[in-house]
């Protein structure tokens, strides 16, 4: 057995372990009238995994999460938790808990009563409830606020209450529906780190819905990119970012430059420019129209190495943003690429490209993608 290799595949299969997947979606569909919210979604999420469902709004990620939680019934297909078919079970009979986007706290109950709600429903004895609630509140640093009403708390604190209320039940799977969307940027970064820490500590499977690529990239073990109800790609953050399966994933995951051209003899020939070597590509027909996709940070502006694809362009815009500078470079009329440079030696950059000058750019052929 070589379990390591499976973790880097781009299929929907989870890492190979002896255990049944924590969550399995088997050809799940959700139709509303004639429109599909989710089509033929099949996924395996391994126990202990931090798994993200990523996509633009309306892509079906929240619907998928709600079907796992039991709030929405699938039109077709089956949902399995820990190997058991739960498709027909209501939410209160599923061993999952949810952190809702709106937090959905019980405003008439104190923070500790909110956290104790699930344990009470499951008939845990009083001493057990008190102990587990106290431990959980301490874990999310809310001990001092235990007697406060949720309406008196800040957004970040409410978020923590929602998390504690779900986690205290020690579910098999925790579902998180854009839990950080309502927080400001700084707090969001902080909570991202904290969530990840908590997940590692307690080892519960997290299924995390987000529309924020950075969030998905930094937090996930694996992620699925959805668009228009269909899964576009499933894999590790590196798979998805470095080897996007199609042009949607390439452009949704961060910025991607698209250079149109014709594929011929292992190169993409630009319409009014040079041939850019890309090496042999499988599944691309000779003389077909293609897009060459290249990330801004993969393009070099200086010290070009031999074997690089090279093209000369004009610097049209220089955007300074602290640690990095983005250059917009027009290669041929109508074809502009953005190039991201680290500001390791800012003053030198400014001298060289103040705008309107010719510059030669290049990249390693293996860093670009050829998309139909």
């Amino acid at each position: 057995m070589t379990p390591v290799t499976t973790t880097t595949t781009t299929t929907a299969a989870g890492p190979a372990t002896g255990l049944a997947p924590a969550v399995r979606l088997d050809d799940v569909c959700k139709r509303y009238g004639d429109s599909h919210a989710v089509r033929d979604l099949s996924l395996d999420i391994a126990p202990g995994e931090f798994f993200s469902l990523l996509g633009p709004s309306g892509c079906g990620k929240t619907t998928s999460l709600r079907m796992i939680g039991g709030f929405t019934d699938p039109s077709d297909g089956a949902i399995l938790l820990g190997g058991k078919d739960v498709t027909a079970l209501p939410p209160n009979k599923r061993d999952v808990n949810t952190v809702f986007q709106s937090y959905a706290l019980f405003d008439h109950l104190s923070v500790s009563d909110n956290v104790a709600f699930g344990l009470k429903r499951r008939g845990v004895d009083r001493a057990g409830i008190r102990e587990r609630v106290a431990m959980m509140l301490e874990r999310v640093q809310l001990t001092e606020l235990a007697d406060r009403k949720p309406t008196t708390l800040s957004g970040g604190q409410r978020q923590r209450v929602a998390l504690a209320r779900a986690l205290v039940n020690r579910p098999q799977v925790l579902l998180l529906d854009e839990p950080l969307a309502a927080l400001d940027l700084k707090l969001r970064r902080q909570m991202q780190v904290e969530l990840k820490q908590i997940q590692r500590e307690i080892g519960i499977t997290f299924v995390f819905v987000t529309h924020d690529q950075d969030e998905a990239l930094t937090m996930s073990d694996r992620m699925a990119v959805l668009n228009d109800g269909r899964m576009q790609q499933c894999g590790t953050p590196e798979d998805v970012y470095e080897r996007p399966a199609n042009s949607f994933v390439a452009s949704f995951m961060g910025t991607s430059n698209m250079v149109p051209g014709t594929y011929r003899d292992g190169a993409v020939v630009m319409d009014e420019g040079p041939a850019l070597p890309v090496g042999p590509r499988q599944g691309i027909a000779e003389n077909s129209r293609v897009n060459l996709a290249i990330r801004p940070e993969k393009i070099w502006l200086s010290d070009l190495a031999p074997g690089m694809a090279r093209v000369t362009g004009v610097v049209r815009e220089t955007v300074y943003s602290g640690p990095t500078t983005t250059y917009l470079i027009e290669l041929t009329p109508g074809v502009t690429v953005s190039v991201l440079e680290q500001n390791t030696d800012r003053s030198r950059m400014e001298d060289r490209w103040s705008g309107g000058e010719d510059v030669e750019v290049g990249w390693l052929p293996e860093h670009c993608l050829v998309l139909n």
Binding site: P90, N97, S102, A104, L105, F106, H108, G118
Partner: protein, 282 residues
């Protein structure tokens, strides 16, 4: 006017100057509204029988009221009717509101419209209709028929107040309760109803006050003995106005003010403002 005073006048044209005209209109409005009530309150303390000349301060009409068995019996009946109507219309009204908000099909919206009809129907029509119904079914008019009529009449108020509150509830909260292991019924009882409690209590107060001093419906649906207090007062006035009526009126006024104060205070208990919004039906 000298030219020197023109400049400061112009600066006073800003929005921060006192709206004298508006203040005058408001004062006149409150005077017209409360002067007659003030007269009733004043003469309830008159030592004389006169309704035009105030002599000395006295509580004799209050004493007279509390020694009048017929009036006390009517007061008791009105309190009972208001309590039963309040309880009955709350149970039915809250249930109806929950159903109407969650039933999102054509039948549901039709029911939502039909529910509003009692609010716009002239009360006298409702009263006559109720009386004819009871007569037709050969149900003798009594305290029970008043209660039935008042419950029917009050459901719409409860439903209108509660419906907007329920629609404003976050549906994820009930889902969260179910997610944490509650059944549908438990999530209604443990999460939804507590969230609605301020509105429920405020509409309870409103219904109690409305029913307690309701005259028209009570007049058409009550039996001969006992009669609800407003009906009794009306009958008494036909044989000449006694200052006892002023005392009864004042007591009812104090009671109503206490109820409204309660309705304003209840939402504060739950850390929320806007009890007045609930009473004005927003």
């Amino acid at each position: 006017m000298t030219t020197s005073s023109a400049a400061p006048r112009r600066t006073r044209r800003g929005t921060d100057r006192k709206p004298r005209f508006a203040i005058a209109v408001t004062a006149a409005f409150f005077a017209l509204l409360y002067l007659p009530i003030g007269v009733v309150v004043l003469f309830s303390f008159n030592s004389q029988r006169s309704l035009t000349v105030f002599k000395d301060f006295s509580l004799r009409w209050y004493t007279a009221f509390f020694q009048d068995p017929v009036l006390l019996e009517s007061l008791g009946m009105s309190l009972r009717v208001a309590t039963v109507a309040m309880a009955g219309s709350l149970i039915l009204g809250v249930t109806l509101a929950l159903g109407l908000v969650r039933c999102r099909n054509r039948l549901g919206s039709l029911a939502g419209l039909v529910m509003l009809v009692p609010l716009v129907t002239p009360e006298i029509v409702t009263g006559v209709a109720a009386m004819l119904l009871f007569k037709g079914m050969q149900i003798p008019l009594s305290t029970g028929t008043v209660m039935l009529a008042e419950i029917t009449f009050s459901i719409s108020y409860v439903t209108v107040i509660l419906r907007s509150r329920i629609a404003a509830l976050n549906p994820e909260v009930e889902e969260a309760a179910m997610d944490l292991g509650a059944t549908r019924w438990q999530s209604l009882r443990l999460v939804t109803l507590p969230a609605l409690l301020p509105s429920i209590l405020a509409s309870a107060v409103l219904i109690f006050a409305l029913v307690f001093d309701d005259f028209v419906l009570a007049y058409f649906t009550t039996g001969v003995d006992p009669q609800p207090l407003p009906v009794r007062i009306y009958s008494a006035i036909r044989f000449g106005v006694k200052p006892t009526i002023n005392a009864v009126g004042t007591l009812m006024l104090v009671g109503s003010i206490a109820l409204i104060a309660l309705a304003l205070f209840i939402p504060r208990l739950f850390g929320r403002r806007g009890g007045l919004d609930l009473l004005s039906g927003k």
